[in-house]
Amino acid sequence: MRAAVGIDIGSTCAKTAVLDGEQNLVTSFVMPTGWSSVDTAEAIRRRLAEEGFDTAALPCVATGYGRVAVPYADKTVTEITCHGLGALRLFGEPDCAVVDIGGQDTKIIRLSGGAVADFLMNDKCSAGTGRFLEVMASTLGIGPDELCALSGRGGGTSISSLCTVFAESEVTGLIGCGTPKENIAFAVVDSIAEKVASQFRRLESTEGGVYLTGGLCGSPELLAALSRKLGRPVRTCPQARYAGAIGAACRALTIQKSEESV
């Protein structure tokens, strides 16, 4: 079977996707990145082997900040290009905007004619990223998913600090005042959406649909908050978490694995 492997080693999670020759998603899985990207890459290789995919034979592209730590990858491509390709494969809209909220980076990507035409990334700051959510969730003593779910029932509270460290003290203060947890959760999700939206507005001429990729696409609360801030619907799909890996696999499908190595 003709197939290709895409591996996206992010700061928090490592995503893997295998596509067949027609770009159908054959398998996908996620695991924590952990301390060592090299160990993660090896764990992915074993898992793929168990599922019957030989990384020595199949073309493979690695992306994400740990992309250089995948020894069996034929090529490394940045996560910006891969999220663009992945979003194109998932949503099929060649002219659109892609918002990827990652563990430590948030990227706004503009696709034109199916290719990346422009992009913006957050600066050295975790506001509006998955890390911000994780830190706030841990301050509240809950998990990130739980925080997002809880936020749907809250309202009427806001966090003004964009800095994660300051925002953490602000949340601690709110807890001290007896603010209901769901209201704090609402404020956290709202803060992420606002930061992402303000970054989005810096990118000019973003016509067409807006699509969310990355680890937070499973949160309807965040999607709603972001749509509200941008004044236009933000869409996603369950596989969008794998957009980077899917994009990498799309790219890998174009690689001809050299014959002599077989």
Binding site: T81, A115, D118, D123
Partner: protein
């Protein structure tokens, strides 16, 4: 026998290091050294007054902690680094300088010069806020005359029109030598790594002797061209050609230009201060009044400290065409308001020119090296 190119390029970096001894020698022989910060400094006047000029522009993060004892933290790294060198006595050039020339360019710099005045003798030239008001040139001329009067009074020298004209001829020659080297990058593929080119231009400023600057640059230009004609190519055909613009980048060169070229791009032109902007315009040495000609030359520098600043946009448009740029990378230092705000106009300009544009904000610390690499790689993948 001419030297191999890598050695020649290396010599420019060596010149910078060896410059310390030269500066000491100059002082011991009774010479005077003027430390400068900006391309607006009218070198011809310092030359005519018998000063040797040297750039004190801080490009290292090493002295920033010392500076932060006096200056706000959220100030641009260039200002902090420069001041830090002076306050910690770590820069021999600052140490040897008899006089430091400042300009009222950005607010951070002009206020820093006041503090620097406690440590060293500083003369701050007042620039007009823009060049479009009809008295701008007249005002700048007053400033230059005032500066000359100061030098004559303070140091007992005489700055005559003849000396100014001779200095302008020499400085033009040096500018042409710099341009000659830079213009080689119009070749396709370009014959030099942008990183090498930048280092050579930077190092040339530390040779102190006009003849040496000109001859070393001319020799390098000739040899780079000869190597190219022999078929030597640092880049493959079809390499992506990048035009770099923005703040002075001496302190962030490796993690921007260096990484960009490691990732497979080629910097064909630097519009920045140490690059083409500072060298491309000549003084009209046949002009009736040489001081007016000098004043006019410097006012045509397209820096965002001027409001409005149409010259930069015109120049970038011309450079993008001449150097056949595939993309523009703008590098802005944090807390640089003139460049930071003008970024929006540059982004719009690139849109009009149909050129992809990547705007990076980065300081002298290595903290964001990973992110910068991703952005630069993604930009190249996009082209």
């Amino acid at each position: 026998m001419t030297q191999a190119l890598p050695q020649q390029f290396e010599q420019f970096s060596e010149a910078r290091r060896a410059g310390f001894l030269r500066a000491k020698q100059i002082k011991e022989n009774g010479g005077r050294i003027a430390g400068t910060f900006c391309t607006f400094t009218p070198s011809e006047i310092l030359d005519a007054a018998g000063f040797v000029s040297v750039s004190l522009c801080g490009t290292s993060g090493e002295t920033i902690p010392a500076a932060e004892a006096h200056l706000p933290k959220n100030l641009c790294p260039l200002i902090k680094s420069s001041y830090g060198f002076a306050v910690s006595d770590k820069c021999p050039y600052t140490y040897f300088s008899d006089l430091i020339i400042g300009e009222t360019t950005c607010d951070g710099k002009k206020k820093m010069y006041e503090l620097l005045g406690d440590l060293k003798k500083v003369y701050t030239l007042h620039l007009p806020q823009g060049t479009d008001h009809d008295y701008a040139l007249e005002m700048w001329l007053w400033e230059l005359r005032r500066f000359i009067a100061f030098l004559e009074r303070e140091y007992g020298v005489s700055v005559t029109p003849e000396k100014l004209r001779a200095a302008a001829v020499a400085r033009n020659e040096e500018r042409r030598a710099r341009c000659g080297l830079m213009e080689l990058q119009k070749l396709s593929p370009p014959p030099m790594r942008g990183h090498q080119l930048f280092k050579a231009l930077e190092g040339a400023g530390f040779r102190f002797s006009h003849d040496e600057v000109v001859s070393s640059l001319t020799t390098l230009t000739r040899d780079v061209r000869a190597a190219y004609d022999r078929g030597e190519r640092p880049f493959p055909d079809g390499v992506r050609r990048i035009l770099v613009t923005g703040c002075p980048i001496g302190g962030v060169l490796d993690k921007t230009v260096g990484v960009l070229e490691e990732q497979g791009g080629a910097v064909v032109c630097f519009e920045n201060c140490s690059g083409i902007k500072a060298a491309c315009r000549m003084v009209d040495t046949d002009a009736e009044d040489i001081l007016t000609a000098i004043a006019e030359r410097y006012l045509r520098i397209g820096c965002p400290v001027m409001t409005p600043n149409p010259i930069r946009a015109e120049h970038l448009t011309q450079l993008a065409r001449e150097y056949r740029a595939d993309g523009v990378v703008e590098i802005v230092l944090p807390s640089c308001q003139p460049y930071g705000v003008e970024s929006r106009q540059i982004r719009r300009l690139c849109g009009e020119l149909g050129l992809p544009c990547l705007q990076l904000e980065t300081d002298y610390s290595p903290a964001d090296a990973g992110q910068l690499t991703t952005r630069l790689s993604a930009f190249l993948e996009m082209l």
